[in-house]
């Protein structure tokens, strides 16, 4: 049975094996991305991390009687921009609704959200898997809403402390259709959305600070059957947690179903310590948010000229940049994919590749530099080796001053802060010896000292390798390998 929600072809490789046969996981995600604004969605209080309790709260955020919300134009613009980045339809007429529920960190007693008429409609995101293959995730909608405050439960054994600094901060909730079929795909999708909002500058994508959070709707079914009942998992704020939570939850649902039980639609919390999800009992009573249009706010009408102007201001997006890096520099899909994940990476690469062998620069950037940065936990913005020095290193290889082997040593010394590639080469005398006279004299001495080995080469040409190794050793690896081979072959009569 299929419907327009259920359009992804089943892939047996992604099935989970249960006791009684295979199961398919079906997932849709809700991503909450905090708008990177100075002030809140409906008030002039500051948005930020690390201020003292209740210091970034206006009387609107505290829901004092008589306060009226006034929408932040910049936040609206960021929602439109993000919608355009998700290749989605922008709705020129949208409206805010009240989502009613009671919790101490929600002083209004309702969250201002968009229920029936969101600012952004359907879109699509192209996602890369780790192996470089791609899949699409359809976007259902994006709407603007307020964040809640923060409840702190561990400061007092008998009381909960409430800080409203986060209350009223603008969030973009990005809702996907149920197009995701494995935990790896779920993580890859969140990564891709994060890359897009970071390119756009609409959200800083900081998962640790909770500025980008994902709720995962997980259900399982027998391959070919209709959609199963889903559970929503909250509190997954890292790629690893997302994957672990999904793996656990899918297994749990399969066990319930294989034991003849049924899945109850509910909200579950992931516990990263125990690596399990558990039911949020407080939400067990049927949620009834009683949405209705917020009478404090007029409909949000967007001028088509403004939407056009925002569209014209969009930066080059990751998919376009990836295609350009492939065509302009001849890079592989994999290398260009790695470079576009962070804008700073591709900026670095393009600076270094200017006028140089583009593939060689890509190799040194992705294989050596990014690996080294990852190991030391640094970002490319703070790379101890600037792009000019990667360019310099590649230039030394291109012009034959150093071999690729020596280049690794030069790179290590650059990483250690010994200066530019030229300085490192000069300081340690790492210039490749292409002077055939010098190489010849080393080879002559070797042949004279090892007449038996020289004789053996005539019988068995593969034995030449020993001489090559010895010459490299004698010259400290600085001899030009091509020149060494040629001279050896001539002198030993191997062709």
């Amino acid at each position: 049975m299929t419907n327009d929600l259920d359009v992804v072809a089943a892939d047996p490789k992604k099935f989970i094996q249960g006791r009684t046969g295979p199961w398919e996981i079906v997932m849709g995600l809700e991503i909450h991305a905090q708008v990177a604004s100075n002030s809140k969605l409906f008030s002039g209080a500051a948005v930020g991390f690390g201020a003292g309790p209740n210091e970034q709260v206006s009387l609107v955020d505290a829901a004092m009687p008589g306060m009226l919300p006034v929408i932040n134009r910049y936040c609206v613009e960021q929602a439109v921009k993000t919608g355009l980045g998700l290749k989605a339809q922008i709705n020129p007429w949208s409206r805010f609704d009240r989502k009613n529920y009671f919790y101490p960190d929600l002083p209004q007693g309702y969250q201002i959200s968009q229920f029936k008429d969101p600012i952004v409609g359907e879109g699509v995101v192209l996602v890369e898997r780790d192996d470089g293959s791609t899949f699409t995730v359809r976007i259902e909608r994006l709407h603007l809403e307020q964040d809640a405050g923060k409840s702190i439960h561990d400061l007092d054994p008998h009381a909960t402390y409430v800080d409203l600094n986060r209350a009223g901060t603008a969030l973009m909730e990005i809702v996907s259709k149920p197009d995701i079929r494995s935990s790896e795909e779920a993580a890859a999708y969140v990564k891709k959305v994060r890359t897009i909002v970071r390119y756009l500058g609409t959200c800083d994508g900081d998962l640790e600070k909770g500025n980008l959070r994902a709720d995962v709707n997980v259900s399982v079914r027998r391959p070919g059957e209709g959609l199963g009942t889903r559970c929503e998992i909250k509190n997954v704020n890292s790629y690893r947690y997302i994957m672990q939570a999904i793996e656990y939850e899918a297994r749990r649902q399969i066990e319930v179903l294989e034991d003849g039980g049924t899945i109850k639609q509910e909200t579950r919390l992931f516990d990263p310590g125990k690596l399990e999800t558990r039911s949020m009992r407080s939400k067990e009573e049927a949620q009834d948010y009683r949405y209705f249009p917020d009478p404090d706010l007029l409909p949000l009408e967007l001028d088509p000229a403004w939407i056009k102007a925002i569209e014209a201001s969009l930066p080059e997006l990751p998919d376009d940049k990836k295609a350009r890096l492939q065509s302009q520099y001849g890079l592989s899909a994999y290398d260009s994919g790695v470079l576009v994940i962070e804008q700073e990476r591709s900026d670095f690469y393009e600076k270094a590749a200017k006028g140089r062998d583009a593939k060689l620069v890509a190799n040194w950037t992705t294989n050596e530099l990014l690996a080294r940065l990852a190991k030391s936990g640094q970002d490319i913005e703070n790379s101890p080796i600037p792009p000019e020095d990667i360019a310099g290193l590649v230039e030394l290889i291109e012009t034959g001053v150093i071999s690729s082997k020596i280049a690794k040593e030069v790179f290590d010394r650059m990483w250690a802060g010994e200066g530019t590639p030229q300085q490192v080469v000069d300081k340690h005398g790492l210039v490749q010896v292409t002077d055939t006279g010098a190489i010849e004299s080393v080879i002559d001495a070797l042949i004279a000292a090892n007449p038996d080995k020289a004789e053996a080469v005539k019988e068995k040409p593969q034995a030449l390798g020993w001489f090559v190794g010895q010459v490299m050793k004698e010259t400290g690896g600085k001899a030009n390998p091509a020149a060494v081979n040629e001279i050896l072959r001539t002198k030993l009569g191997v062709l």
């Binding site: 206006s58 910049y74 702190i152 007092d156 409430v162």
Partner: protein
Amino acid sequence: MAIDAATVRKVALLARLSESEERLEPLARELNGIMTWIDMLDEVDVEGVEPMASAVDLKLPMREDVVTEGGDPAKVLANAPSSKDNFFVVPKVVE
């Protein structure tokens, strides 16, 4: 739409209002009375009329993204029944 005692109980719970069992029936009767008045609106033919979003002919006013408020926790906490170290303090809500 007829409102029964069970509906009143549910609405009261959602609104966090405490009502005794013996009040539920009388409240249901009162609310049904109000609903009867509201049902009169059904007599108006609204075929082809868009739902009204607002009674005023104004555009949604917008503000610029500048910080103009905050920095005064004492004012924010002024009406709080209980506070400590600039936090609101409420009964324990953790599950």
